[in-house]
Symmetry: C2
Subunit: 306 residues, 2 copies
């Protein structure tokens, strides 16, 4: 699946994912106003997402859909989540479900079935939240990851394992130094490299990727050097404070190596002065074009500096 | 909320949670046979859960409902999840949603709203998956935990943070030794102690608990000594191999300190020779009574050995 993502990134010249972290509060007043229930809110969020997907589908290769923003609106919210995943897929986008799931093996297999594999009811198979990639948390070690790896193989899917996250306190555990002198995030990075060693595609990257935040430049640089065949999902650009020049270290000399996510910076662009004359969908498109130009310029500068 | 759990444990003499990890495959043939869709499967699971809840409600204080087994059946599965949480609450059980959620602060706040706090749509508040406790993963550090702590305070709820999980490879990261000579699980344990220091209730335990597997006795013993005021959610008994004597080290001299979960051992008891003459709900009740007697005997033996 990593090959499909990289093909799209190359075709569009755009290593970008639009984050559909669509809080009800982010919606324009006209969409929000009539809503009285979770069902209403979920329908309004779905309408918003479909319009954004339509507006960005030829500018970015991928969307990252953050499950928490849908779980918050209950069963109706999860219907919006499933519909958003399916619509993005239908429109030709690569779909990353940002779920950060994790559990013991037998239970991780259930999560994997929901997103990557399939579940069977009396001989009929279903994949209720089908995604191309999901994010997973590594705290439980290899046997909690194995079911996802198996489904990636079987169904040509991918995962991004949390290695160094973008939040301010990510270092509290991830940057602790182990008794071999390596940090925890490097140790997790090494495991991710092992888990993905046998799924390297034709572009030289593995279906087992890593989440590496744009907000921690030094750590990203260390990981890039350590994990040449691991593709990075890079959150933290924009609203969280990571700049294009900061995150350029996540990329390899081939100009590849990462997909940068922006959520609020794109879906809330219509609220900014710069895009105030555009409707929310057109503002998202314009912001995605700006982001593409910002990132590709930074990557060119970084290439010249090498 | 920890006080309410401990009150129920004392009243029933039963430090036990029944795990509703209800795979469709676990259901009796009569329930399974007519199902053709995810919706059918979810309804059958709901019927099964309601019957088990009714059968064990005066034997155990709590149920632990594992989200993965519902997410697997899609939106219909999550309706079954919500209905199961609500039914257990209605029947007087303490409800632990085993979701192992985790994310950066702003996103963790969404998960917290779904389970512990509330979400607002034009002034109306909802808690779609209301639970008394949820499990959370600590890999992102303090700012990914803070929203859950805030909602615990506001809404009298609790969390169990993954410290030492029950799966075979949990040691791959959790048992790594840091440069101060302490393991990662002890380091997380110390953080959990800090996060819960200001929410200790009248029984001497905090609303911020820890997940400590029954399958790793030495680690559990270390953590019990280190964290006297932290209540443990103890998975791994039964099907995963942890014995009552192993997990007795999770308890304090006051006879308190943990709630032991069993899932397949209870909900699949009807498939065993011992209970083959009982229907699934009655078998679950009898297995829960057996488990209560097994655990309380082990705790008595442990108390005598002190």
């Amino acid at each position: 699946m990593i090959d499909a993502l990289i093909d799209r990134i190359k075709a569009l010249g755009s290593p970008i994912a639009v984050g559909l972290d669509t809080s009800f509060d982010y919606l324009p007043d006209a969409l929000k106003k009539p809503c009285k229930s979770l069902l209403d809110a979920a329908k309004a969020i779905t309408d918003f997402n479909f319009a954004v997907i339509d507006a960005v589908k030829d500018v970015v290769p991928a969307v990252k859909v953050q499950a928490a923003y849908y779980e918050m609106y209950g069963v109706a919210g999860l219907r919006a989540f499933a519909d958003t995943l399916a619509e993005a897929k239908k429109r030709g986008l690569i779909v990353i479900a940002d779920v950060k799931r994790n559990d013991i093996g037998s239970t991780a297999a259930c999560y994997s079935a929901a997103y990557l594999g399939s579940v069977t009811v009396n001989g009929k198979s279903f994949t209720p939240f089908e995604s191309d990639f999901i994010t997973v948390n590594p705290y439980l070690g290899a046997d909690g990851i194995r079911p996802f790896l198996d489904d990636c193989k079987k169904s040509d899917k991918g995962i991004f394992v949390l290695v160094k996250t973008s939040n301010p306190s990510s270092g509290q555990l991830q940057n602790r130094v182990l008794d071999d002198g390596k940090t925890l995030y490097r140790t997790v990075g090494a495991l991710v490299g092992e888990w993905g060693a046998d799924s390297v595609g034709r572009h030289g990257y593995s279906d087992v990727g890593a989440v590496v935040g744009a907000t921690h430049k030094a750590e990203a640089q260390t990981l890039r050097a350590q994990m040449p065949r691991t593709f990075f999902l890079i959150p933290g650009y924009g609203a969280q404070g990571g700049s294009a020049d900061d995150l350029a270290v996540c990329f390899n000399k081939d100009g590849l190596g990462g997909v940068v996510n922006s959520s609020r910076g794109i879906i809330c662009a219509y609220k900014t002065d710069k895009f105030k004359d555009a409707d929310f969908a057109r503002a998202a498109r314009l912001a995605a074009l700006d982001m593409r130009s910002d990132i590709t310029s930074a990557l060119k500068r970084a290439a010249q500096d090498r």
